[in-house]
């Protein structure tokens, strides 16, 4: 594989080139982004490989076993990769990549496709030299090696992670015309690690210890304050991801996982936990990751210009992954709509789907496993005869919370919030089968 070139260029590069060659306006740039999104990652079809002929690959020997000691996807999947939006962040180091949700074939994001958010770049850490220090308001401050940590009892759990900035670009209007960029700041993996409570019990928390400060070993020393209730509940200290060691992008060799909470509270490259009496008011929980609100609600005038702090929970969200801008409809006939739903409060209870922009709804089927704080698949069959449709999906959690409309969110918070946009999203299916991102 390594000696074979991808047959289709990375679309991000294509986009950059498109932009640099034409020096176009950003609006046109985004329009083109939508247009090139339909590039198909497969070669031309040769009749000699189709019935009744025997395809070429069947008439010669294949490559030796273990030609790729660490497996790689087929070269025909070369465009199924994480991508960045080059203009989104000031540099490519404190930046983010997006999961290609349209290409995810189940409820797990493969390790190579799980979105990555770094605040000070991606560190390269030797696990033999990595240490976890636990101190502060504890009876016995300790330092653990990776070997020590793996001697504690460990569990495996499947949970989503979502960056609170997921869909942030859509607050004021539809901006980015692809599923990967409207909703791709999420992943869902099987995480293996030690329940944090075992480690905290080991050091003995003093009664005044109410908060846990967590810090990474990256250049940003990425840090958040976590209340002790969450630390003692379902928080894990994770070293495994989908059956192998954590990927560097996910915090190798060690990360925190706070299921259902803002992704950045799951501190990557975890090096230090300090038990404190108060939150530490880190940059990433004051200056950033707080929701400035300007409600469009006359009853909430007192909240104008205020900001919500410690909005930890990622609330219920569902998104249709087929059809979507990257996966248009190819001709009239029967299709199965697919999607993913999740909520940081527990399990998904229902997903409802609308074909008319939210006037009428019908319940979709939940497919496969329905787990706590985990991507849940949904589907519903439909027949398309070339009409324009406005398709939406709406998640309901087992706690009864129903995913809001964009109008409801704007009423509650205005449009100046950056984070926590979990509004119902709308795809418009055009008469030619192409799919656009719209708002209604």
């Amino acid at each position: 594989m390594s000696d074979e070139k991808p047959i289709v260029e990375n679309n991000t590069e294509t986009l950059l080139k498109t932009q640099s060659e034409t020096k176009t306006s950003r609006r046109k740039f985004l329009g083109q982004a939508a247009a090139v999104s339909t590039v198909v990652a497969s070669g031309s079809v040769a009749a000699s490989n189709l019935p009744p002929n025997v395809p070429a690959w069947q008439k010669t020997l294949g490559k030796p076993v273990n030609s790729n000691p660490y497996g790689q996807p087929s070269k025909y999947e070369a465009d199924v990769i994480r991508k960045r939006v080059p203009w989104l962040t000031p540099d490519s180091i404190a930046s983010i990549s997006f999961t290609p949700l349209a290409e995810i074939k189940g409820m797990i994001s493969p390790n190579g496709l799980a979105f990555e958010r770094d605040h000070g770049g991606l560190p390269t850490i030797d696990p033999k030299q990595h240490r976890l220090m636990i101190h502060g308001l504890v009876e016995k401050p300790i330092i653990l090696t990776m070997e020590d940590i793996q001697r504690f009892p460990n569990v495996s759990r499947i949970h989503f992670i979502e960056c609170p900035a997921n869909s942030a670009m859509e607050w004021k209007g539809p901006q980015v015309g692809r599923l990967q960029f409207t909703h791709g700041m999420t992943n869902c993996c099987e995480w293996t690690g030690v329940p944090l409570k075992y480690i905290l019990e080991e050091v003995g928390i003093k009664p005044e210890g109410k908060w846990l400060y967590a810090e990474g070993a990256d250049s940003a020393s990425m840090s958040r304050s976590i209340p002790m209730e969450k630390a003692m509940d379902d928080t894990l200290v994770v070293f495994g991801q989908n059956g192998e060691a954590l990927r560097p992008e996910q915090g190798y060799p060690l990360r925190l996982l706070t299921p259902g909470w803002e992704g950045n509270t799951s501190i990557k490259w975890l090096r230090r936990l300090e038990v404190t009496a108060e939150p530490s008011y880190q940059r990433e929980e004051t200056s950033k990751y707080t929701d400035l609100i300007n409600p469009n609600d006359p009853d909430k005038k007192d909240l104008i210009g205020k900001a919500y702090m410690f909005s930890w929970i990622m609330e219920a969200k569902a998104i249709i992954t087929f059809p979507c801008p990257e996966k248009p409809l190819k001709g009239h006939g029967k299709y199965v709509m697919n999607g993913l739903a999740w909520t940081g409060t527990g399990k998904i209870k229902h997903v409802d789907v609308s074909f008319d922009g939210g006037i009428n709804w019908q319940e979709a089927e939940l497919n496969g496993l329905v787990l706590d704080k985990c991507w849940t698949r949904f589907s519903i069959p439909f027949e398309w005869n070339g009409e324009e449709l406005l398709i939406q999906s709406r998640a309901t959690g087992e706690d009864g919370y129903v995913q809001p409309t964009l109008a409801q969110l704007r009423k509650a918070r205005g449009v100046s919030s950056i984070y926590h946009n979990n509004a119902i999203h709308t795809w418009k299916i055009n008469k030619n089968g192409e799919v656009e991102s719209v708002q209604v």
């Binding site: 950059l16 640099s20 950003r26 985004l30 939508a34 080059p86 203009w87 962040t89 000031p90 180091i93 404190a94 000070g120 220090m133 101190h135 016995k140 401050p141 300790i142 020590d148 504690f152 460990n154 607050w171 004021k172 209007g173 539809p174 901006q175 015309g177 329940p195 075992y198 080991e202 003995g204 810090e215 940003a220 090096r271 008011y281 880190q282 940059r283 200056s287 707080t290 929701d291 400035l292 300007n294 909240l303 210009g305 205020k306 900001a307 702090m309 229902h350 922009g357 939210g358 006037i359 009428n360 709804w361 406005l390 709406r394 309901t396 129903v402 409801q408 509650a412 205005g414 100046s416």
Partner: protein, 340 residues
Amino acid sequence: MSKSNSLLKLSSALIVALSLSACANEPQSEKQQKHSSAASTTTSSLAPAVPDYHPISIKKGGFNLGKEASKEEIAGWHIEVGHGHNLPPGEGSAADGEDLFDEQCSSCHGSFGEGVGRNPVLAGGEGTLSDKLKPERTVGSYWPYASTLLDYTHRAMPFPSAQSLTWDETWSLSAYVLYLNDIIEDEEFVFNAESYKDIHMPNEDGFVRDKRPDTHNTRCMKDCKDPASLNVKTALLGYGSGAEDVVEETAVVKGHEVGQKVYDATCRLCHGNGLAGAPKLDDVLTWENRLKQGLSQVHKHAIDGFKGQYGVMPPRGGNMELTDEEVKAAVDFMLKDIEK
């Protein structure tokens, strides 16, 4: 004691089943409860001893793993600064911080904290938080506590060289940023753990603890809204006048060349600060000297990388995502004011 007896005793001691009181409700932990022991594989002419399992109970905190952290070890890593606690030693004034800011911070944040390119604006924005479309969140207008400024400056700034500032430098730079925001008015004011309590951030009371859910949608299934109310806004047509502001906020600044975009994102780290021997943009003599070899050679070095007498240019500035054309555009942007 006979050989077999001693083996049996060894087995009993080593072969235990963990019964963890701390995780009695964890079904996953059961998988780990049985550990075989090296003792059971010891060769013996006798029949192998049947392991005699005696579940042990590990009480909370009974693993005794790791080593105790010493005061010195903790001190070296204990970097966070809290609001009014964990305040670091040292001190500094805005006057002390000004030159340091110009030298180490202004290439990204601007001489007055106004922000260069899309890097964070540090000063200004006072009174804009209630602006529905364009609130400006700066240290002065938004940050609730000055401790966060000390903390973040020391842990993560300057962006390319984290934890390089002394605590005196950190106090000085923080004082200077507060001075740019008119929060410290006297440039000689000595900012330290003692005077910290005299500093009050304007937006200290601007934060409320989240009380979600703050929306209350229902699972309406039929005739949930008036079809006439559907107003389809396609991508890029936006939401009233707001869309323009999103474009301003998150996008390439209009009118900027690709070169500047690439420079901002990749090259400025070194060429803005003069790191790794990189000539800064206003270093006219060095650039003119390099241009003597021809612009195409400068392009080539930028694309392929170059190790010279004074420094190192990594290929494509270290960003392999860039195309040749983008690297060339960045070089051309950097040399736009240099006579060729």
